[in-house]
C-alpha cells in the first residue's frame, strides 16, 4: 500500500536574486514498511524534499499524497493537525524539549493528540523500553548522551502512531556506536512493527542499512535503487 505518492514536484525559491530550482520534477512512491534513504550531495534538494513530504513547506508545482490525501493544497492550520496525526519527525539536533523529562518528551506528542493520561504514560514507557532507555525516563535531555537523546526523539516520533517517520540526518551528530545502536533499533521497529522510515542522509552506515536508496542530484531523482 502506498503511503506517500510524489508526483512531478518542483520547488523554486524566488527570495534570492536568482531563482533557485531546489527540486525539478521529482516523482516516486513510498510503500508501507519501507526503510528508505534519500541521499545526494549538499544542495541536491534532500532537505527541501523532506520538508515537502512532512508538510512543512509547499511545492511550487506537483502533488504530494499521503495516505491518498493531497497535502499540497492544505492550509497551514490543517497541516499542523495532519502532521501531528500522520508524520513522525526525527531531527539532526534531536530537538527534545529541554525542560521536560525523557518520559514527558515522549508523552508530549500524545498530549497534543489528547490521548488519555494513563494510556500515554503506558505507551511512552513501552516505547522507552523498546529504545532501551526506560531507566532514563525521569532524566532531562541534558543528562543524556547524544545517542540516548536521539533514541528519545525516535520514541517521540513513534508515540503518535504516525503513517511514516521522516528523519533528517538523524545520525549526523552521533558517534559510530550510537549510530549503530540507533539504526538497529529503527531496523527492528521497521521489521517488527512495520514502521515506515524515510531518511535524508550522507552517512554511509545509514545508506548501507536502507532497503531502498533514492539518490537526488540537482533537484532530480538520479537513481532509485531497491535492495533485497
Amino acid at each position: 500500500m502506498s503511503v506517500i505518492k510524489v508526483e512531478n514536484i518542483t520547488k523554486v525559491y524566488t527570495e534570492t536574486a536568482v531563482p533557485v530550482h531546489a527540486l525539478n520534477g521529482v516523482s516516486f512512491e513510498i510503500q508501507e514498511g519501507e526503510f528508505t534513504a534519500i541521499v545526494g550531495p549538499s544542495g541536491c534538494g534532500k532537505t527541501t524534499l523532506l520538508n515537502i513530504l512532512g508538510g512543512l513547506d509547499h511545492p511550487t508545482s506537483g502533488r504530494v499524497e499521503i495516505s491518498n490525501i493531497d497535502i499540497t493544497e492544505m492550509k497551514d492550520s490543517d497541516l499542523i493537525n495532519f502532521r501531528l496525526n500522520n508524520i513522525g519527525f526525527v531531527f539532526q539536533a534531536y530537538n527534545l524539549i529541554p525542560v521536560l523529562t525523557t518520559l514527558e518528551n515522549v508523552e508530549f506528542i500524545m498530549l497534543l493528540q489528547k490521548v488519555d493520561k494513563k494510556k500515554r504514560r503506558k505507551r511512552s514507557m513501552d516505547l522507552l523500553e523498546q529504545m532501551g532507555i526506560a531507566e532514563k525516563a525521569n532524566q532531562r535531555p541534558s543528562e543524556l548522551s547524544g545517542g540516548q537523546q536521539q533514541r528519545v526523539a525516535v520514541a517521540r516520533a513513534l508515540a503518535s502512531k504516525p503513517n511514516f517517520i521522516l528523519a533528517d540526518e538523524p545520525t549526523a551528530n552521533l558517534d559510530s556506536v550510537s549510530t549503530s545502536n540507533l539504526l538497529d533499533i529503527m531496523a527492528v521497529m521497521n521489521r517488527e512493527e512495520k514502521e515506515t522510515f524515510i531518511f535524508s542522509t550522507h552517512d554511509q552506515r545509514v545508506i548501507d542499512k536502507a532497503r531502498r536508496v533514492i539518490t537526488l542530484e540537482d533537484g532530480r531523482v538520479k537513481s532509485d535503487e531497491i535492495r533485497e
Binding site: 520538508n51 512532512g54 512543512l56 513547506d57 492550520s77 499542523i80 493537525n81 502532521r83 501531528l84 496525526n85 508524520i87 519527525f89 531531527f91 530537538n95 524539549i97 529541554p98 525542560v99 521536560l100 514527558e104 508523552e107 508530549f108 506528542i109 498530549l111 497534543l112 493528540q113 517521540r156 503518535s160
Partner: protein, 407 residues
Amino acid sequence: MYLTLAWRNIWRNKRRSFITIGSITFAVFLACIMRSMQLGSYERMIENAARFYTGYIQVHKNGFWDDKTIDNSFEYNKSLISKIENTPGVEVAVPRVESFALAAFGTKTKGAFVLGIAPEKEDQLTRVKDKLVEGSYLSKDDKSVMIAQGLAEYLKMGIGDTIILISQGYHGANAAGIYPVKGIMKFPIPDQNNQTVYLPLKEAQWFYNLENQLTSIALVVDKANHVEIIVADISVQLDTTALEVMGWYDLMPDLVQGIEIDNISGKVMLWILYSVIGFGMFGTYLMMTAERMYEFGVMMSVGMKRILMQFIIFIEMVMMTSIGVIMGVGISLPILIYYYNNPIFISGEAATAIENFGVEAAYFFSLQPSLFYNQAWAIFIMALILSLYPLIIIQNLKPVKAMREAI
C-alpha cells in the same frame, strides 16, 4: 503538563527570568512607594484642611456658603443634632456661629473673625487646644475669649486684658461686648493668626442676638472616603430646601483642584516610570523570542498548534508577571506600613519654609488598598501587552523558516 511546561520554561534561563521578574518587582515597588507618598500627602492635606476649620462635612442654611452673613443662620435644635449625630459614620457634630467684628484694645482696632464654639466639641474637630500658647482653654459657660497670637500682638494685649468687640447682629441689631482674654493661640497660617477670636457658643449667640441659632454645623466622620455616602444620608433626613449639606470637596474646591493638578503630574511620572521599565521588559521578551525561535519551529513541525504554543508562552508571561507583582507589593507593603505609622518629619529651615505655607513639614504615606492593586494591575496589563510580541511572532511563524534562520 502545559502549566508544568510553562513553569519550567521560566527557569530554563534563570538570568533572563530574574531580570524580567526583577524589573516588574522594581516597577511595582517604586510605583507603590511614589503613589503612597502622593496619596498620603493628599489624605493629610484633606484631613488638615477639614480639621483645620471646615470639617469633613458642613450643614448650613441654604445660601450661607455664597453669602456668609449672620442673617443666613438656622435654628439649633435637639432633633436636628440627633438626626445628624445618629447618621452612621458621623462621630461628632460641631455647632458654630461665625461672623466678623471690629476688635479694639486701647487705641488700636482691627477686623476680626469671630467664631462661637462649643469648646469641647470644637477641640475634637480642630484640636484647637493644641494651639494654645498662653492662658487657658475656654469652657462653655465662660464670658471670655481666646484670641490668636498675631491679633494679640497687633492690639498689644495679653492674658487678662479686655477686648472690645463691635459688630452687626442678627437682622441689623447692634452687637457690642467686652471680654477678658483667657487664652492666646498660635496658628500656622498668617491670616488665621492675625484675626481669629474664639467665643463660647452661648456668648456668641448672645453677642450676635442669635437666640439659639447657628451659622453652621461642622462634622467629624469616621473615614474621609465615606463623606459622599454620609452627605447623601444626611441630605435625605433634612429639609434641603432650608439647609444645605456639603462635603469637604465642595467646601474646599481650591484644594480639590490643587490635588487634581498635582495628581496628574504624579500620574505622568508613574507613566514615565512604567515606560522605562516597560522597555526593559520588552528587551527581555525580545531576547526570549529570539532564543526560542528554533524551538517554536520544531514544536510547530511536530504538530503543536499555534494557539497552544501562544497559550503556553502567555502563561509563562502571566506567571513571571504575577511573581514580579506579588514580590513588588510584598516588599513595598511592610515598608509602607512602617512609614504610615512613622511619617518622615523634615527639620530645619526646609521645615520652616514648608510650614509657612500652612502645610505640615513631613512626608506622609497612604495605605489605601487601591494604590496597591492599581499599580499591580497597571504593571500586569503592561507586561501582558508587551507579551503580545512573542504571540504575534508565533502567529506568523513558518516552521521551516524559523528553524533555518535560528541556526
